[in-house]
Amino acid sequence: MRSSLISNRYLIVLLAALLLSATQLFAGSAFVTKGSKAASLDSCVAPTDVMRRNHMDFLQHGRDDTVIDGIRGLDYSLSECVDCHAATDVSGKSMPVDAEGQFCQECHGYVAVSPACFQCHRTTPDAKANKYGNHSDKSFLVGPVSQPAGIQRD
């Protein structure tokens, strides 16, 4: 059940080959979208060239860890990618990472690959996410989640 799809492996090899050529193109330019959190950081969670070549492997590995084994807060998580790489427009609103000219689309558009991730995953940071996720400390839990006094179970 855990095994990844053979076909996806091939696909990934193919993607990697394609991306390699894209990497050459972008080699000199440290591409991050202006106005994203990533633009203010020195590097991604791994060196840029590693990320460029392997991010899809990292993500695919992580997805099984999270969905099947329930391990959260992985180093390589798609929501982190989005949180960090989504740019904001003049009004301060986040722009979808898969929009024209935005972080994901810039490369994927060039190599004509459409990332299927965003058919299900959101493309902007989740403003509500601080509720229970990895992104927050959990001190808030004492407040809102606690049980009102007087609840009787039986």
């Binding site: 329930g70 902007t124 039986d154």
Partner: protein
């Protein structure tokens, strides 16, 4: 008897294991226990077969006209109401029943019952429907091909098919067109050690306290105690699916 049972038991070994596990848990507020408290951005330990998560629902406490649990679930997982009830997703719903003989009225929320022997998992051709080691039944949307066979097989009508393209999903419930989904028992909370589902939280806040979530394998957990003390039933218990969701006063 080859069927393994996850039924709560006071088995000695489990009891000791349970106490040890409980020692690692932190009570933050009454009713809220954080297992395996992880700091910000730390990797969590993942699902463990030492637990089996489940719920017990008290039909007597489910208040007429209330929709707190349904609203909370929709909000938690960003299940948007598109005004098309036939195709809109419903992970949890309330049902009002009348006994044909006695006329007695009861009301209860129904969601995925997190069966120990889930028919949806048996029929899924691609292993997209699966049961986690801690008993939570999920759909891996990376594998689901949208055949809807699981929806045909589920005895509780617990599943919804996503009939349209979506945006702005919750980061905790990625979901998209063409896949099937159902109640996740708020697995994102479980994984973070938050021992309260969104529906229970809302029901408690509304002052009804009809829903109790917890660990069926831990004999000391509140849910195990309640189940031990009071009579409870499974919906369609005749199917012997050993559901993780039980009902009282039904």
């Amino acid at each position: 008897m080859s069927k393994k049972s996850d039924q709560p038991s006071m088995d000695r070994r489990q009891f000791i294991g349970g106490t040890v596990a409980a020692a690692g848990a932190v009570t933050i507020a009454p009713g809220v226990i954080l297992h395996a408290v992880a700091g910000s951005n730390e990797q969590t330990e993942g699902a463990s077969s030492e637990h089996r998560w489940g719920m017990v629902i008290d039909a007597n406490k489910c208040a007429d006209g209330c929709s707190a649990c349904v609203d909370a679930c929709n909000n938690e997982h960003e299940l948007t109401d598109l005004g098309r009830p036939e195709t809109d997703a419903a992970w949890i719903r309330t049902v009002k029943l009348k006994d044909k003989q006695t006329g007695n009225i009861s009301r209860l929320p129904v969601m995925c019952q997190h069966c120990e022997h889930p028919p949806c998992v048996d029929v899924c051709p691609t292993n997209a429907s699966f049961k986690r080691v801690d008993g939570v039944v999920l759909v891996d949307r990376h594998r689901c091909i949208g055949c809807r066979y699981c929806m045909m097989a589920c005895p509780y009508k617990a599943r919804s098919f996503i009939h349209e393209a979506l945006t702005d999903q919750s980061v905790y419930a990625p979901r998209g067109k063409g896949c099937v989904e159902s109640c996740t028992l708020c697995v994102h909370r479980i994984d973070e050690g938050v021992m309260q589902t969104a529906c229970q939280e809302a029901c408690d806040k509304a002052g009804h306290g009809a829903i109790l979530f917890g660990d069926l394998k831990d004999p000391n957990s509140e849910i195990s105690q309640v189940l031990k003390k009071y009579n409870s039933v499974q919906i369609r218990g005749d199917l012997e699916l050993n559901t993780g969701v039980r009902y009282r006063n039904l």
